[in-house]
Amino acid sequence: MGKGYVAILGATSTVGRALAAHYAREGFDILLAGRQEDEVHRVGQDLATRYRCSVRAVHLDSDSFDYPQALLASASGVAPLRGVVWALGTMHAAAAEADAALLRTSTWVNFGAAVAAVEGLLPHVAPSGFIVLLSSVAGERGRARNYIYGASKAALTTYGAGLNHRFAGHGPRVTVVQLGVVDSQMTWGMDAGMPGADPEEVAAGIARAVAKGRSRAHVPKRWGLIMFVLRLLPEAIFNRLRI
C-alpha cells in the first residue's frame, strides 16, 4: 500500500512537475492532469521511471466546468486524494486589460478554473489531506506590468483563505503559496529583475509549508520580507518605481 494519490493539476508546469517529483519521492502516487496529452504522459513516465510510483495521467482542458468530474471519471480508484496541487497559471506578455480574449483566459485560468477544479474535487479529498494553491506575490500589490494576472492571483489567494475559514480545522488543510520569482518556463526570457529560484528548492519549500499546516506561505521565504516592504511603501514612492 502506497500513501495514496496526490493530484497535480497543471502537470506540464515547471513548479507542478517539481512538486510531483517531490511527492513521488516521498512515496505518494501521482495523478497528473494537463491539456497536452503527450507531454503529460511523458511527465508521468518520468515519475514512474525515477521514483517507481504509480502514475495516472489524464488529458484535460481547463476550459470546462466538468474538469473534476472528467478527472475522476478517467482515473477511478484514486480517491480519497491525499493532496491536490493547483499549478495552472498564465502570464501574458501583452496587456490583458485591453484584449477581451486575453482577459477571459487570464481570469479563468488563474482563478475561475481553480475554483471549479478544487470545489469539484473537494468531496474526494481525504479530510486529513491537503490542498495547495499556487498563487503569486503579484497578487499582493497591483503593478502596471501585470495587474490582470495579479488581480486574478489576489482572487485565488482570497479564495484559499475563504476555504480555510470554511473548514476551520475540520477538513483538508489549504495552503496558499505566494510564490516569488521561480526559474521556470513562465519567467525564462522575461526580465524579472533577479534570478529565479530553483524549482526543486521551491517544491521542497512548498512541501515544508504544507507539512507545517501553514495557511499561507511565501516561497522562497525571503519574499515575505520583500513583499512586507513593498506593501508598506507609500504610493508616492511606489508609483515612481518601474517594477
Binding site: T12, R17, E39, R42, Q45, D46, T49, M91, A93
Partner: protein
C-alpha cells in the same frame, strides 16, 4: 501561452576561451522546442562541456537541460530518456538496479544528447567502441520541425550522420541506450608508473587485452628522458563476491566541492602546472587491486564541478588528437617537445590507445593513440602553438576532436575528416537553409559556404 522565447545571454565553451552572446531557448516540453525550431536558426546545447565553440551560435541556442524526462528503464537494461538528462542522473537511476553506462567520458556532467552528438568515447573504447554504438534509437527533430525515429536499422544514413554530427542534423529529442550490467559500483584498479614515453606505450600494448578500462595520465611537463612518464590505470568492474559482507554494493557520492570564484588569469602558471602534475604523478604509487568507487575512477575531475575557473578569465583550450596506428613514441615526443620549446604551460595530459572507429561520419575515434592536453590560453602564442600542433597532426594523418576544438580551419578539417563530403551532402538535403549551425560549423565549413 507561456513564454516560448529565449533569453539573450552570454554563453561559453567549457574552456571559457570562446564566449558569445546568443538567444538561449530552454524548452521544457517537446512541443515548445518544435515551435521554437521553426522560428530561428541555431544549434542544440546540452551542459556546455564541449571545450570550444561546438555548442555556441550567434543567433539561437536550444538548451536541452530541462528536456530531461526519463521515459523508461526496462528489465533488459534498455534506457529511454529525453536528450537533456545527464549521464550522472542516468547512473544514479540505473546503478541501484544493476545497470551502468556502456561508455562514459571523463565527466558525468554531459547530456545524453551531447554524448551522442559528439559520439563520445571512454576508457574502454578499445573494448566496446563509442557511445553511439550502444544507441538503439534516436528521435531527431529536423529543420522542418518533423520528428524522425532513426536507428542503426532505421534511416541508418541519418542515424550515423547524427551520431557524431555535432548537432548539425537537428536536435536530438530523445534516445534509447543499451546499458550494461554492473555487479557492483566499484572498480578494481591496478596503478603503475612509468619513467618515459616508450615504457608508457609498451604498457598499453601489454595490458589493453587484460583490462576493460585503460588510461594513462601523462605528466605533460617533464622533459628529456622522463618525457611521457605517466601514471597508468587498468581497471575492471569489481565482482559482487569480492565485496565484504555489509559493503554497500552500489555506493553514491555526496555533493561536489566547487571552485568558488574566477582566479585572475595566469593563476595556472607553468609552475602551478608543474606542481600539479608532480603531485598527481607522485600521488599514485604503484598499487594493485585497489578498490575505487565508480565516481573516483571515472570522474576524478568532477570533484570540483567548475574547475575551469582555475584558469582565470582567459580560459583554456584542449588539444586532443588521434593518430594512425603507425604513429608512436618518436612522433609523440616531437609533439610534446613543440609545447616545451614554447615554454607553454600545460596541465594534465591523457593518453590512450583506441580501438576501431565508429560508423559515425564525423565521429572522432579511430584505431591508434589519442593524446589530450589542456593548455591555458595566453593570447597569440597559444593560438600559434595550436596551429603548429594541428599542422603536425594533419601531417601525421591524425585528426582533432571537434568536441574539444577551437582552432581548426576548413582546409585542415577536410583533410582530417575525409567523410565530410558525404556529411555535407546529407545535410544539404535535410537542412537546405542551414537552420542548424554553430560557430564550429561555420568555422570548418559545415554550414554556410559550400
Amino acid at each position: 501561452m507561456t513564454s516560448q522565447f529565449g533569453r539573450r545571454m552570454e554563453i561559453a565553451g567549457w574552456g571559457h576561451a570562446l564566449r558569445t552572446e546568443a538567444e538561449v531557448v530552454r524548452p521544457e516540453l517537446v512541443t515548445r522546442l518544435r515551435e521554437s525550431l521553426l522560428s530561428g536558426n541555431g544549434i542544440a546545447r546540452g551542459l556546455g562541456r564541449a571545450y570550444g565553440d561546438a555548442a555556441l551560435a550567434t543567433d539561437r541556442v536550444w538548451q536541452t537541460t530541462r528536456l530531461n524526462r526519463m521515459l523508461r528503464l526496462g528489465a533488459d537494461g534498455l534506457l529511454t530518456a529525453e536528450a537533456g538528462v545527464s549521464l550522472g542522473e542516468i547512473i544514479r537511476l540505473a546503478l541501484p538496479q544493476g545497470w551502468t553506462l556502456p561508455v562514459t567520458p571523463g565527466t558525468q556532467w554531459v547530456t545524453l544528447g551531447g554524448a551522442i552528438a559528439a559520439d563520445v568515447h571512454g576508457k574502454n573504447h578499445h573494448e566496446v567502441g563509442t557511445f553511439g554504438q550502444h544507441v538503439t534509437e534516436i528521435i531527431l527533430c529536423t529543420a522542418d520541425g518533423d520528428l524522425h525515429r532513426i536507428g542503426p536499422d532505421q534511416e541508418p544514413d541519418l542515424f550515423w550522420a547524427t551520431v557524431g554530427g555535432m548537432g548539425l542534423t537537428g536536435v536530438i529529442v530523445e534516445a534509447s541506450l543499451r546499458l550494461v550490467a554492473a555487479e557492483t559500483g566499484y572498480l578494481t584498479v591496478d596503478y603503475e608508473r612509468t619513467q618515459g614515453l616508450e615504457e608508457t606505450l609498451e604498457w598499453f600494448s601489454g595490458n589493453d587485452a587484460a583490462y576493460p578500462f585503460t588510461v594513462a595520465w601523462i605528466d605533460g611537463l617533464s622533459t628529456g628522458r622522463s618525457l611521457g612518464r605517466a601514471v597508468l590505470m587498468g581497471g575492471r568492474i569489481t565482482e559482487r563476491r569480492e565485496l565484504q559482507q555489509g559493503t554497500e554494493v552500489y555506493p553514491m557520492p555526496r555533493g561536489a566541492i566547487g571552485v568558488p570564484f574566477e582566479f585572475p588569469s595566469g593563476t595556472l602558471s607553468r609552475s602551478v602546472g608543474l606542481a600539479f602534475n608532480a603531485v598527481y604523478y607522485g600521488m599514485h604509487r604503484p598499487e594493485r587491486q585497489k578498490r575505487e568507487a565508480w565516481w573516483k575512477f571515472f570522474y576524478p575531475l568532477d570533484v570540483a564541478d567548475d574547475w575551469y575557473k582555475l584558469y582565470g578569465r582567459r580560459g583554456f583550450a584542449q588539444y586532443q588528437a588521434v593518430y594512425p596506428p603507425e604513429v608512436g613514441a618518436r612522433e609523440l615526443r616531437a609533439l610534446l617537445e613543440r609545447i616545451h620549446k614554447a615554454r607553454h604551460p600545460n596541465f594534465l595530459g591523457v593518453l590512450k590507445r583506441m580501438g576501431e572507429g565508429s560508423p559515425g561520419l564525423l565521429s572522432f575515434p579511430r584505431a591508434g593513440l589519442t593524446l589530450a592536453l589542456d593548455l591555458p590560453m595566453q593570447g597569440e602564442r597559444s593560438v600559434e602553438l595550436f596551429r603548429d600542433l594541428y599542422a603536425m597532426t594533419a601531417d601525421l594523418g591524425g585528426r582533432v576532436y571537434l568536441a574539444k576544438d577551437a582552432f581548426l580551419t576548413q582546409e585542415l578539417f577536410r583533410r582530417m575528416y575525409p567523410q565530410w563530403q558525404a556529411f555535407v551532402h546529407l545535410k544539404t538535403r535535410l537542412d537546405p537553409h542551414d537552420r542548424f549551425r554553430s560557430q564550429l560549423s561555420e568555422r570548418v565549413g559545415l554550414s554556410g559556404v559550400r
